[in-house]
């Protein structure tokens, strides 16, 4: 049974298929006992997982409930910085998209666009010219977290042409983006504002704006790398895989 088969069957079990596709899977299962058995096995993982972790009440929840009840509602002004930032930086907004590359003849410092934050990112002709961020993309691993300037990498994967792409965050500039390897540098694919960063729930590099994820979805071939493969790709100098070679598993 291939992974693709399992994926479709799994989507059927989880109610993630449209009615037409679901009916097609059901018809196939009716005609083929192997498929029916596989569906049953996948369905069992759902019941097994739910049975393994029942949602039980716990005596310690009472203390937590007291703590929650005693908490203060924040004043309307406490959240205003975040609310303003969100109003001016909607999650799907894109500061800079790859299609605009041709429009940039000279250099572009993105700092002034970002509400006067001190540090900008330099992009020249679509290539990333910010030495600090280039270094982070060249050398840093996801597990390293952020460097001293709040720069970190998120997902690493190959595009359809076998080039390496990495998402990143640059906290001081207030942006997150996706850059793909081109020649000896990194070409910016998309740049978007990070969600409001004043808050305490932000952790270095642990989330990526939806606008960037959308471009990742459109760019990715295969899957994002785990920690070991990521280190191997870095140590290999981010070499492009030649066209026509089959994908790594």
């Amino acid at each position: 049974m291939t992974r693709l088969d399992d994926e479709i069957l799994m989507r059927r079990v989880d109610g993630e298929l449209g009615p037409t596709e679901a009916a097609a899977v059901d018809a196939a299962a009716e005609a083929d006992p192997t498929i029916a058995a596989r569906i049953a096995a996948l369905r069992r993982t759902r019941t097994a997982a739910a049975g393994a972790f029942p949602a039980a009440t716990d005596a310690r929840d009472r203390d937590l409930a007291r703590m929650i009840a005693a908490s203060r509602r924040p004043s309307p002004f406490e959240g205003i910085g975040g609310a303003l930032a969100e109003a001016f930086a909607p999650r799907r907004a894109v500061i800079w998209g790859g299609l605009a590359t041709a429009a940039f003849v000279g250099g572009l410092a993105l700092g002034p666009l970002l509400g006067g934050r001190s540090e900008g990112l330099r992009v020249e002709g679509g290539a990333l010219a910010d030495a600090g961020l280039v270094r982070v993309l060249d050398t840093r691993l996801n597990a390293d977290g952020a460097d001293g300037a709040g720069r970190s990498v998120g997902l690493t994967f190959r595009d359809g042409e076998g080039r390496w792409c990495r998402t990143f965050q640059a906290a001081e500039a207030g942006v997150a983006g996706l850059a793909c390897r081109r020649d000896d540098g990194w070409a910016m694919q998309v740049l978007a504002p990070m969600a409001p960063s004043s808050g305490d729930i932000r952790m270095a590099g642990s989330d990526t704006p939806e606008a960037v994820l959308d471009v990742v979805d459109a760019t990715i071939a295969g899957e994002t790398l785990g920690a070991a493969d990521e280190a191997q790709a870095r140590n290999g100098g981010w070499r492009q895989r030649s066209a026509g070679v089959s994908r790594q598993p």
Binding site: A49, F53, I68, I201, D207, T224
Partner: protein, 167 residues
């Protein structure tokens, strides 16, 4: 209590359940729940009406868990996997006796999955989130979530079959 507070209290059993998938040891899971509640309260001004409180709070918990994982890596601490017997003796409060042998086998099999797959399994199979919601909580593309879920499930099917668990 206002709606946010009531919602958070109602979520406690699910938060504890998610924490138990992320952290096999009861004391660690409890720490994670506590930190998540504290951070959710401190960050409530960032919660927007119309957002699902469960997804939002799971995201908070996942970030804390990831950050802890990073600091463990950074400090080079070695976390030795204790054997199951030790864990159970050390965690009498975990109400294991109420779980059937099959459920225990399933729990061990889920804990044995790589983190990425375990998180996907926890959100979709245990917490019942849609693929799109789970992908959002984990901050990964939808396709990545799906392939992690497939691989996690394939391992579970194999492990449970080897142990003769029929569900």
């Amino acid at each position: 209590m206002d709606e946010f507070q009531t919602g958070l209290v109602d979520l406690l059993p699910r938060l504890r359940r998610f924490a138990r998938v992320l952290r096999p040891h009861d004391a660690d899971a409890q720490d994670l729940v506590q930190q998540t509640v504290e951070r959710a309260l401190a960050s409530r001004s960032k919660f927007r009406d119309g957002t699902r409180l469960d997804s939002w709070t799971f995201t908070v918990m996942r970030r804390i868990a990831i950050d802890e994982g990073r600091s463990i890596l950074r400090w080079g601490r070695v976390v030795a996997a204790e054997d199951d017997a030790t864990v159970r003796v050390a965690d009498p409060s975990q109400a294991d006796e109420n779980l059937r042998a099959d459920a225990l086998a399933a729990r061990d099999a889920i804990h044995a999955l790589p983190d990425d797959q375990r998180h996907a399994v926890a959100l979709v199979l245990v917490e019942g989130l849609s693929y799109a919601e789970a992908a959002k909580v984990l901050g990964v593309p939808a396709g990545t979530l799906t392939s992690r879920l497939v691989r996690g499930r394939q391992s579970l099917i194999q492990t449970l079959a080897e142990q003769g668990v029929t569900g």
